[in-house]
């Protein structure tokens, strides 16, 4: 069996069998699903028709209250209101609204929902507002006709002249999320490689191993093993998130309601719109590019992380060498916003070409549409960058792993790079 393959296998299995990996992999999708489900749960639990009793003393708001889909108002007299308060459980009413001048009170057996309260408050505010305007002699029709709402529809025309609806917000959202994910993955799995190298060095097993395999095989085996861990985790997260969300939907949410809500105005329109508008973004290209930039961005950076791990004796000593590696990563992170503001600008273009920043910045740019030749050049540069850093890292690594108890400087690292054989 190929030795590099043996190393990849060990690095992969050791990490996948760890409790922390299993817990992280299982827990994250539940949290994710929770984040998706929770808002839906929170907004849609108040769907019954509510009968509200209204008792009014000395004013005339109640007859202007309009029944809505979920609420219907019933005027009651004082005795009935008293009866409701005394024997709340047998009453057909869900709640009682008492109005004394401009004092409004609601009585109910359970806490009324935010939505219900909000819709009644809105109605009352409107009624009182109109009343006041009317009293000061302003024509309400005039005000209503002056109210305007516009919405610019954005469409993208492709080379063949076909137009598709687009959304700047959706592009920004996708670009931001994928960019951040790559940033997180490179950091997470890069440091995982670095820790692995330090572990082998401090455990003093490294010399036993490299008497059987080349240092380069050990390094690349570890990097690829961790890459597989990353891809496995990512894939499991996607699959589990889908499974958990589906189950949660079946368990907690009436699907009809969601469909119904989709057609309703308010925030549900946004979801519908989002689904419609991502149609303008080439999701396949984004997914494939994501895997590519994640993999090669990780490969390029992790070899540098491995070199740092090999040069030190303990994780605490890594700080001074980490800076030049983390700087381009953090820089890309900070520059996500300016790039999104002008995704075709010079800054965006060059940052998405330079291999150290391209994995994050290109992902941010992609949803806005990037020419194919730009993507291809960026990808080739990244592959070249990976080959270059791996070669450099291998030279540091093969000397570093056998150095103990020496404080390493940059000058020393340079010497290692220039050693022969």
């Amino acid at each position: 069996m190929n030795k590099t393959f043996l190393i990849i296998k060990r690095e992969f299995l050791v990490r996948v069998k760890k409790k922390s990996f299993i817990i992280m992999t299982l827990l994250a999708p539940i949290l994710m699903a929770g984040l998706i489900i929770a808002p839906v749960l929170l907004t849609d639990n108040d769907n019954q028709k509510r009968l509200i009793a209204v008792f009014e003393d000395n004013s005339s708001y109640s007859n202007k209250l309009e029944d809505s889909e979920n609420i219907s108002f019933n005027l009651v007299d004082q005795s009935e209101a008293e009866k409701f308060k005394k024997d709340i459980n047998t009453s057909p009413f869900y709640a009682l609204l008492e109005i004394y001048d401009t004092n409004f009170t609601m009585f109910s057996s359970q806490q009324i929902s935010l939505n219900l309260r909000k819709s009644i408050t809105n109605q009352l505010e409107n009624i009182i507002e109109k009343e006041k305007l009317k009293n000061s002699g302003i024509d309400i029709k005039l005000i209503e006709s002056a109210k305007t709402k516009i919405n610019i529809e954005t469409k993208i025309i492709d080379d063949e002249g076909k137009t598709t609806s687009s959304s700047t917000e959706a592009s920004m959202g996708i670009g931001f999320i994928t960019g951040i994910l790559i940033y997180m993955f490179i950091f997470m799995y890069g440091t995982m490689v670095m820790r692995g190298v330090i572990e082998e060095k401090t455990n003093r097993i490294v010399e036993i191993i490299i008497s059987s395999v080349k240092p380069f095989q050990l390094m690349i085996g570890k990097i690829l093993g961790v890459a597989l861990v990353g891809l496995t985790q990512f894939l499991l997260w996607i699959i589990l998130t889908i499974i958990v969300s589906t189950f949660a939907e079946i368990l907690f949410i009436d699907t009809d309601e969601i469909v119904k809500n989709m057609n309703q105005p308010n925030e549900s329109v946004l979801i519908g719109e989002l689904v419609k508008l991502t149609g303008g973004i080439d999701l396949v290209t984004i997914f494939v590019s994501f895997i590519f930039y994640f993999l090669f961005g990780y490969l390029m950076y992790s070899s540098l992380f491995a070199a740092v791990g090999s040069a030190v004796d303990a994780e605490a000593d890594t700080q001074q060498f980490m800076l030049p590696i983390t700087m381009p990563l953090i820089l890309s992170f900070i520059l996500i916003q300016p790039v999104m503001d002008n995704p075709d600008g010079l800054l965006a273009f060059w940052l998405s070409m330079i291999p150290l920043t391209s994995p994050i910045i290109m992902m941010v740019r992609l949803p806005f549409g990037v020419e194919n030749w730009e993507i291809l050049i960026s990808m080739s540069f990244l592959i070249l960058g990976f080959i270059f850093t791996t070669g450099l890292a291998a030279k540091i690594y093969r000397t570093g792993i056998l150095m103990y108890g020496k404080k390493i400087t940059y000058k020393e690292l340079w010497k290692w790079i220039s050693y022969k054989g």
């Binding site: 069996m1 030795k3 043996l6 190393i7 060990r10 050791v14 572990e199 082998e200 455990n203 003093r204 097993i205 010399e207 036993i208 191993i209 490299i210 008497s211 059987s212 395999v213 240092p215 056998l402 103990y404 010497k415 050693y419 022969k420 054989g421």
Partner: protein, 299 residues
């Protein structure tokens, strides 16, 4: 023990920047022998062993293994127990030994059966599913020994093999090393502790300041450094006849005397015998340590 050479290092040089780690080093290791690589810390022993293991490459010179230029396919025939040795702490003993054996190029089934054989031989089979972090340092050393010899290499290289062992386990390991030698394995044995060398090594090389300063079989080196000093024990604490020999030292009844090369040892002995009762008489051989110190000083 023939004179056939398994490994020869010829004019090997290695520099790290301005630092010369090895300077025209030559050694030749005969087959089926135990070859001691001696020298103080920092002399270049570890660098030499790393070159033999192809962990690093020499700047100049060459290494021959079985009369072939040393190359990657020889890795399977060499076993190396480095001085800085450890194991993955979180991995199980058996799993780890299997991994290291497979890295040496052993197929799975063969590795398993060989490991079982050695684990039973050293009575450590019940450690198989323990994690390494549960073992003591000496126990871990035994496992490292097993994974070094597991693939039946022609050449074994041990760097300070007895450090970390208690006397009982050290003698078990010594016995195993000797029996490996008797079964035809060639062993390079590196140490800076000279006293362990004489009892176990057939050949030695002394390395100091990146150079080989002495090389050959133990008996021949001792012969080269033979002196005319004898140790004599008498039933009295006074000894004269000093015109025939020089008394170097005397402690109670024990005398060290220097008999000039041109005078007859038997004559001297007879002379002493006529006056005193001799309890013991033997040639005072220089120990390897003394030879070593002498050679280093002569540099």
């Amino acid at each position: 023990m023939g004179d056939e050479i398994l490994l020869s290092v010829e004019d090997v040089e290695k520099k790290y920047g301005d630092y010369v780690a090895l300077d025209k080093v030559n050694i030749s290791v005969p087959k089926s022998s135990i070859y001691g690589l001696l020298g103080p810390n920092g002399a270049g022993k570890t660098t030499l062993m790393r070159i033999i293991n192809q962990i690093t490459a020499p700047d100049k010179g060459r290494v021959l293994f079985n009369n072939e230029l040393l190359s990657k396919h020889h890795i399977k025939q060499i076993g190396y127990l480095p001085e800085e040795r450890g194991l993955y702490k979180k991995m199980k003993v058996g799993e780890q030994a299997l991994y290291l054996a497979q890295l040496k190029g052993m197929p799975y089934n063969e590795a398993i059966s060989k490991l079982k054989y050695w684990f039973e031989k050293l009575e450590i089979i019940h450690w198989w599913s323990k994690k390494v972090e549960e073992l003591s340092k000496g126990m871990a050393q035994k496992i490292q020994f097993v994974v070094t010899v597991i693939h039946n290499p022609k050449l074994l290289i041990f760097d300070e093999p007895f450090s970390g062992f208690d006397p009982i386990n050290a003698s078990i390991i010594r016995k195993e090393i000797l029996s490996l030698r008797d079964n035809g394995t060639t062993i390079i044995f590196s140490t800076h502790r000279m006293e362990s060398v004489e009892e176990i090594c057939d050949h030695i090389a002394l390395i100091n300041n990146s150079k080989t300063i002495l090389e050959g079989s133990v008996s021949q080196i001792k012969n080269d450094f033979k002196s005319n000093t004898y140790e004599i024990e008498l039933n009295t604490d006074s000894l004269d006849f000093s015109e025939k020999f020089n008394i170097i030292s005397s402690t109670n009844n024990l005398f060290k005397i220097d008999i000039p090369i041109n005078s007859n040892v038997r004559e001297v002995l007879n002379l002493i015998n006529s006056k005193h009762e001799i309890l013991s008489f033997k040639k005072d051989e220089a120990s390897i340590e003394e030879i070593f110190i002498k050679s280093v000083k002569n540099e």
